[in-house]
């Protein structure tokens, strides 16, 4: 066989298939290919398949392109051109993991300020969705807003990417783990050591901290730092019952029939997932909610009876109610004499009038509240009384303790205000003492692990400056880490081991769902490494030989630090040992340790027999309480509350949390000063006007949001915003960096006197809802809106016989198989937005940025409309006393879908299971469907939003965006692309990522419904109802959204329809005959309703 070298492309065509593998042939092809500027391996002309004559003789399309050398031109035109990529098989097949099948791992996330048990959905080894752990008694399969958004923090490009950092002369320089451990170890050997951590809960973590304190021989002082301290609450409980409480309370709303809150339980402050789930149960048990508060809060929107009260008078309102309740119930409970005297002094006649509370149905407000409590107690039901935020004044907490004690909520099996857990939250005061010690120079080495004191504590900065060696274990160079000498990058919760105590007696395991993305180490592993380096007993172990192929970090491909190699006790082993030692004896032990351990890992949550609540009623000893005298206040009072979306700002760099609308004001991306409509009129300040706020000698400029329902004389500002060092996204602001923590002064400054002065400038807040009133539209949101007869009988399938409705078309498309539908209970919806973020995570919905939200172009597929209504003829400003309804609005998958008829390109149709589909690749973007949808639930990709994965479109002008867009693509190697935008890893591969010019909308998570079809195909058995449901229904903490098969009489949604049919209605169905597949259940006003609301 003579060797022939291919010079010209024509020769290539004639190459017989057998010859093409010889080395010189491959070389020639490679040379020819590079001549044509095609970098991927050559393609050869293959003889046409016998019996199928190719139109062009013997050359396929790729060969043709090569020969004409027109590859460059056609590459532009042929968008269908196949991008050459590689198929990389695993070296050895992993048991049970078939590519393309998602796996769920049970774990714990702490993004919400308290631990939440989750099931993390991973796809080919990457976490792509957070779901609640169905076996967890606290969450029952749901997850709250910040837990859903924690996924985005894992892939945040602003995390520390390049290993441990050391602060040198000019900023931070990368160093090695060994150097870091050695330096810290040496420093730990002598002098006092300070350890500042976040809340320490969970058997293994508590055991680790106690172990460290013991091993340091008294030189180590540990304190828990929380940005939102619970000092006032714990001190009040100590005053009330004498015992020093170890942890805050958790309220069991599911056992109660009445919730009385002096402030906002659900917002960012006190509530955990347990309270939100409990609220759902409370509503389902027809429980009622009474709220006494100065500003309209998230719980305020769900209140049946809402009483406005000035912030500083809240405490006295609580004591007023306590006095009435004590008088009515009789028995031993009596008011402390000091307080009784003060009440008599204040009460010239009626205390409610003295406190300036509006009468309720003609009766003094406090009497109405007390009467509700007493009636509930006499009916034998439990109730829950709580203060708004943990940092409310101590007096208010004392009153709440007195009320709970008097009403019997603290003892007995049905205790509704049980202690949270053995070691959940330490007293906030310890952290202050440690920091003052640092400032005095007593602490030689300070380790700050997993918390950010400089952001939350006013005095932390100087304290850190006074310490010789500060070590920060943090995931980014945040405010604290940038002042530290050494920074050990911390792994995200999804990359680390650990455990948590969700509630008294409920412990959960945290296991990593992905190998670390960057060169990072778990927080606890760093502490163990420091202890080992310091030579403390029991923390070192013999160093092992480094393995042949060290584990690499997923994105930066850097070799990961290995405990065995470094000779440090592995944190995974510590957790395992702690659980086998402490948890296994208490739980029902399986055969042997390893089986039990893997069973725990599989289930995630273990329920231990909880310590019984105290049987006997404790005696209230709050007599010696110091009470500031009641003083009538003048001027404005500023209330500082936790942001309802960012909470304390720990994940301020999370674009999802920045863009999700605030549950009450619907403002995104910005902090604002909420002001009452009455004050706004008086100060001639409109929406978005910029005012100078003078508080305690400092002046802050802030845009104003006129908040309906806010008590006159009250201003509200939110904590958690305005962080400088959280990352690129948090820094994206138009000049209003409002950080309220300096005013907060660790809870002492929660309520302060303030004054405002308009500056004449305005700033447009990016809100997602511009109109708050229903303006007479025929939507019977609550049972007070008379005059709208509800859908006669709402049961799946019989909602409209052809004859029953006027219709031009006589045809009814029968749904022979499944027919998907949804019911949304407006009574239970608190507007927490967990569904909005869950939907964005599931369906790859990009973030659009402040500019685009201002132009009403946000891309959320589900939004929560908040409608105000006020009683006709209410007092002068009809916007002070409002009743609110939160209505989640998503695509209602109408049978007579107005959007499907008008689409010219067959891009949207109705499938045989009742789902209104949106086929993204067929849409040409005429947007007529969005115009024709009466519910306005369709979203359009005005720009290539999906490309801005690294962050929102932001304030860039169009051309600048194109530049940034090109820069992102300019990086050629995949790794560089990932480091810049690792968010690509988070995309759910089962959902198409939409390009520019394409319409998108909720499609009932059709990829999940397809899995139902696949599972049934495989098992030939019907899947149980609720096994697979939409992302929003799955994550809703209060179970307001219920999804299921309307043709299956046993499904939850049909049973709910039959039980609550009397208050079910379909949005705009009577007027437009769209026949939606989603029905709403009216809000119950419980007798406190008012008539037809007024026009805006």
């Amino acid at each position: 066989m003579t060797t022939r070298f291919w010079k010209a492309p024509e020769d290539l065509v004639q190459a017989a298939p057998a010859d093409e593998f010889r080395p010189e042939v491959a070389a020639a092809i490679a040379e020819l290919r590079s001549a044509h500027g095609i970098d991927q391996p050559a393609c050869t002309g293959e003889l046409p398949v016998p019996g199928d004559p190719a139109l062009l003789a013997a050359v396929n399309r790729r060969g043709f392109l090569q020969l004409t050398g027109a590859a460059a031109v056609f590459a532009l035109a042929a968008c269908g051109e196949k991008h050459p990529d590689t198929l990389v098989p695993p070296a050895v097949q992993v048991e049970g993991m078939s590519p393309g099948e998602p796996l769920h791992y049970a774990s714990v996330l702490r993004a919400a300020g308290h631990p939440v048990a989750v099931a993390v959905k991973t796809y080919d080894g990457r976490p792509i969705k957070i779901e609640g752990n169905p076996d967890c008694p606290v969450g029952r399969g749901s997850a709250d807003l910040r837990t859903q958004a924690a996924l985005l923090d894992l892939y945040d490009p602003d995390r520390l990417q390049h290993g441990p950092q050391q602060r040198g002369a000019d900023g931070f320089a990368a160093t090695t783990w060994a150097a870091l451990d050695a330096a810290v170890g040496a420093a730990l050997k002598q002098g006092r050591v300070g350890l500042l951590t976040g809340p320490v809960d969970g058997p293994a973590r508590r055991r680790l901290v106690d172990g460290l304190v013991a091993a340091a021989g008294g030189r180590l002082t540990h304190a828990v730092f929380e940005a939102l301290p619970r000092t006032a609450e714990l001190r009040a409980r100590q005053q009330a019952w004498g015992d020093r409480p170890a942890a805050g309370r958790q309220y069991r709303l599911d056992r109660a029939r009445l919730l009385v809150a002096f402030g906002d339980l659900l917002g960012g402050g006190l509530a955990g997932l347990g309270e939100q789930v409990g609220f759902g149960e409370l509503r389902r048990n027809r429980g009622r909610v009474v709220v006494v508060e100065p500003t309209l809060s998230q719980l305020g929107t769900c209140a049946d009876l809402r009483v406005r009260c000035a912030p500083d008078r809240l405490e006295w309102a609580a004591w007023g109610v306590a006095e009435l309740v004590a008088k009515a119930l009789g028995g031993g409970a009596a008011l402390p004499p000091a307080i009784a005297r003060e009440l008599d002094r204040v009460r010239a006649g009626d205390l409610s009038a003295a406190l300036g509370l509006r009468a309720v149905d003609g009766r003094p407000a406090l009497e109405a509240v007390a009467e509700a409590l007493v009636a509930n107690r006499r009916a034998g039901h439990a109730s829950v009384v709580c203060a708004g935020s943990a940092w409310s004044p101590a007096g208010l907490h004392l009153a709440v303790e007195f009320l709970n004690g008097a009403l019997g909520n603290l003892h007995g099996p049905q205790a509704t205000a049980a202690p949270a857990g053995a070691s959940a939250i330490a007293d906030g005061g310890a952290a202050d003492d440690l920091l003052t010690a640092c400032k005095r120079g007593e602490i030689a080495t300070l380790i700050v692990a997993g918390c950010n004191p400089v952001h939350g504590h006013p005095a932390a900065a100087e304290a850190l400056a006074a310490v010789k060696l500060v070590v920060a274990v943090a995931d980014r160079l945040d405010e604290t880490a940038s002042l530290a000498h050494w920074v050990a990058p911390a792994a995200h919760d999804l990359e680390s081991w650990g455990d948590a105590e969700l509630r008294a007696g409920v412990v959960a395991l945290q296991q990593p769902c992905v190998r670390p993305l960057w060169d990072v180490r778990e927080v606890e592993q760093s502490l163990l490494a420091f202890a080992a380096a310091a030579g403390w007993a029991g923390y070192a172990q013999p160093a092992a030989k480094p393995p042949a192929a060290p584990a690499l970090s997923v994105v930066s491909r850097a070799p990961l630090w290995d405990a065995a190699v470094a000779g440090v006790r592995s944190w995974r082993e510590t957790v395992r040992a702690a659980w086998i030692a402490q948890v296994r004896p208490a739980a029902q032990p399986l055969a042997d340790d390893t089986t039990w351990w893997s069973a725990c890992l599989a289930r995630g949550v273990v329920e231990l027999p909880a310590a019984p609540a105290p049987a006997a009623a404790p005696t209230f000893r709050g007599d010696a309480a110091r009470i500031q005298p009641f003083a009538a206040s003048t001027g404005y009072q500023l209330v500082l509350s936790a942001s309802r979306t960012l909470r304390d700002g720990a994940s301020a760099n999370n674009p999802w949390l920045q863009e999700v609308p605030d549950p009450v004001s619907k403002v995104t991306w910005d902090n604002y000063l909420a002001i009452s409509p009455a004050d706004a009129q008086r100060e001639l300040v409109g929406e978005g006007a910029v005012v100078a706020l003078e508080v305690a000698g400092r002046t802050i400029e802030a845009p104003v949001h006129v908040q309906d329902g806010q008590h006159p004389g009250t201003l509200e500002l939110f904590l958690g915003w305005g962080r400088t060092r959280a990352g690129a996204v948090a820094a994206l602001d138009d000049g209003f960096r409002i950080d309220a923590f300096p005013l907060f002064a660790r809870g002492a400054g929660a309520i302060q006197a303030a004054a405002i002065k308009p500056t004449g400038r305005t700033y447009e807040l990016a809100t997602t809802q511009f109109h708050d009133r229903l303006a007479g539209r025929p939507m019977p949101l609550d049972d007070s809106m008379a005059g709208h007869e509800l859908a006669p009988k709402w049961v799946a399938g019989t909602d409209g016989k052809p004859g029953g409705r006027l219709s031009l078309w006589r045809t009814e498309h029968a749904y022979l198989g499944r027919r998907w539908g949804m019911a949304i209970d407006l009574d239970a919806c608190t507007g927490c937005n967990a569904c909005v973020v869950a939907c964005s995570a599931e369906n790859n919905i990009p973030v659009v940025g402040r500019d685009e939200v201002r132009k009403n172009r946000e891309l959320h597929w589900i939004r929560i409309d908040r409608y105000y209504s006020s009683a006709p003829g209410a007092d002068q400003a009809a916007r002070l006393d409002v009743q609110v309804v939160n209505q989640p609005m998503l695509c209602l998958h109408c049978d007579n879908a107005p959007c499907e008829v008008v689409c010219p390109a067959n891009a949207t149709m109705h499938n045989d299971q009742g789902v209104s589909l949106q086929i993204y690749n067929r849409c040409i973007g005429t947007r007529y469907c969005a115009n024709n949808c009466p519910y306005k639930v369709r979203r359009f990709n005005w720009y290539e939003y999906a490309k801005y994965r690294a962050g929102p479109v932001g304030a860039g002008a169009p051309l600048e965006r194109v530049a940034r867009n090109l820069v992102t693509e300019g990086r050629t190697t995949a790794a560089a692309e990932l480091t810049h935008a690792p968010l690509q890893l988070m995309l759910n591969p089962e959902v198409t990522v939409r390009s520019m010019g394409v319409m998108e909308k909720c499609n009932f998570c059709v990829q999940r419904l397809r899995t139902v079809r696949d599972r049934e195909h495989a098992s030939n058995r019907a899947l149980p109802d609720g096994a697979i449901t939409t992302a929003c229904a799955q994550t809703c903490p209060t179970r307001a959204i219920v999804f299921g098969d309307l043709n299956d009489p046993a499904s939850a949604v049909v049973r709910l329809g039959e039980a609550e049919g009397h208050r079910a209605f379909k949005a705009l169905d009577e007027e437009l005959n769209t026949r939606p597949a989603v029905a709403y259940l009216q809000r119950r006003r419980g007798g406190h309703a008012h008539g037809k609301e007024t026009h805006p």
Partner: protein, 197 residues
């Protein structure tokens, strides 16, 4: 049918040029009275009633357009029916597959469009309209303000010229019958000066 007869005749014509419409129409009426059937007339603008004078019957185009419209309706209805009901029946907004009420607009538009196109093609065909960059009239003023009536030579050209002069024709002109409608060939006709530009 008169057209066909004339062109078939094959040999030359003499055309008389008239300055005003009145005398031209009178000449035509006189020619018809004189029994001529092989007549050819040029007018710069459509003279009302000239067909009766020259004995031409109404144009057949009028009868061609309505059937074209009907065919358009039928074609479009069949096309849409095949696609929406037979080929791939898909449910849009609860409407039946064969929602014929919604097809009225495409059917109407396609029908009328087909009618218009057929109408134009008919004109192009009957008037032999083909993009011909070199087409000229026997006399350039025929498209401006002059009328012309052409009679077959019939052996005695002078008699025909005299007749035209009697009718008040301004001048006479030889026109080649075979390409009466195309360029005249001046070389072979005796005694004719080349028409002015």
């Amino acid at each position: 049918m008169a057209d066909a007869v004339r062109t078939a005749g094959g040999h030359g014509y003499i055309a008389g040029l008239f300055a005003d419409e009145g005398s031209f129409v009178a000449a035509c009426r006189a020619a018809r009275a004189a029994g001529h059937t092989d007549l050819q007339a040029w007018t710069p603008w459509p003279v009302h009633g000239l067909e009766e004078v020259l004995g031409l019957e109404r144009s057949w185009i009028g009868r061609a357009v309505f059937p074209a419209i009907l065919i358009g309706f039928v074609l479009c209805t069949g096309f849409i029916y095949q696609l929406t009901v037979e080929d791939w029946p898909v449910v849009y907004g609860g409407k039946p597959f064969a929602a014929w009420q919604l097809w009225v607009v495409p059917v109407l538009e396609t029908g009328l469009l087909l009618g218009a196109v057929v109408n134009l093609l008919a004109v192009f065909h009957t008037c032999r309209l083909v993009p011909d960059p070199f087409a000229t009239l026997p006399d350039p003023r025929l498209s401006d303000d002059r009328f012309a009536l052409a009679l077959p030579v019939g052996g005695d050209a002078a008699a025909v010229c005299a007749w035209f002069a009697a009718q008040g024709a301004e001048s006479t002109l030889a026109v080649d019958g075979e390409t009466a409608l195309a360029r005249p060939r001046f070389a072979d006709l005796p005694g004719q000066e080349a028409p002015h530009a």
